[in-house]
Symmetry: C2
Subunit: 190 residues, 2 copies
Amino acid sequence: MLQEIVHKNRSYRRFYQDVPIKLETLRELADLARLSASAMNLQPLKYVLSCEPKRNAMIFPNLGWAAYLKEWKGPEEGERPSAYIIVLLDTQIGPSAGCDHGIAAQSILLGATEKGLGGCMIATINRKELSKVLNLEPHYEIVLVIALGKPKETVVIDKVGPDGSVKYWRDDQGVHHVPKRALDDIIVGE
Amino acid sequence: MLQEIVHKNRSYRRFYQDVPIKLETLRELADLARLSASAMNLQPLKYVLSCEPKRNAMIFPNLGWAAYLKEWKGPEEGERPSAYIIVLLDTQIGPSAGCDHGIAAQSILLGATEKGLGGCMIATINRKELSKVLNLEPHYEIVLVIALGKPKETVVIDKVGPDGSVKYWRDDQGVHHVPKRALDDIIVGE
């Protein structure tokens, strides 16, 4: 059931790096994005798929990880993503992605979750460097990077506490806690 | 399987208006949005749920339908949505929704599809009037309206033709055709 997949689809940032993801799997995930809604059906998004360790290693240093975890610089070698889907805006098609990349990324991550994988949408990107690494033509803008792998961490959903903080945090056991607002707090009319 | 749900989840604009959607169903769909990713986990989105015919009738005139179908002014009485989820940005939480509304809307529509419903994301909105109708406090901005109902039209995916047009169109039988780019045309590196 979708509810289970949505619940299981947490933002994971630590992976079993030695568990590979096949290119065919990435193509299947990109196909889910392809079949998802696009404003005015323009379909201005394009994708770079990466599952080669060497290429992944060139992508990784250009990504920002977990802004709230000040002491943590991102996953260490051995716990890094085994694949990436880089979401591009083709500015020759349209000037803006609107929220198409959110729609596409959600389809991709739900698909990944169903396959026993997990990942994280990353928007903190050294776009200039990553464009060079990927050898992108100048009409492509990087809008989002989706990191993928077999998750190596436990992520739990907490209620937002009395202080109202939504900052995720890690406990002593390395469990990643994510405070989510209650349903009644996000429904403002019914 | 998710692939089936994504494939079935087309943008529908004609519905069996007399098939009601329960408030509880809308709450379940909003809960899928609640459990989806949000940039910096800020969760700035709030929701108005509507399944009352009288309220729906006040929402409907503020929505723009199917820009490419010049001759069609939107669904006629009897084929209108039986429910709406209006997605708001709470500007007291954050200045921008980023692509959170895309993520949330995709979760909602995939959930609706699984339940045998369908819908459409609408961004052409008379925001000023709709804010009045919904009696919204000034710190809420309408970012998206999701129309929902039991679909009353057939939507098929076509390949983009040689002319490159992505404009959807309706044939003589009222079948709605949506040209989608081929997978190899949206993957620019692998």
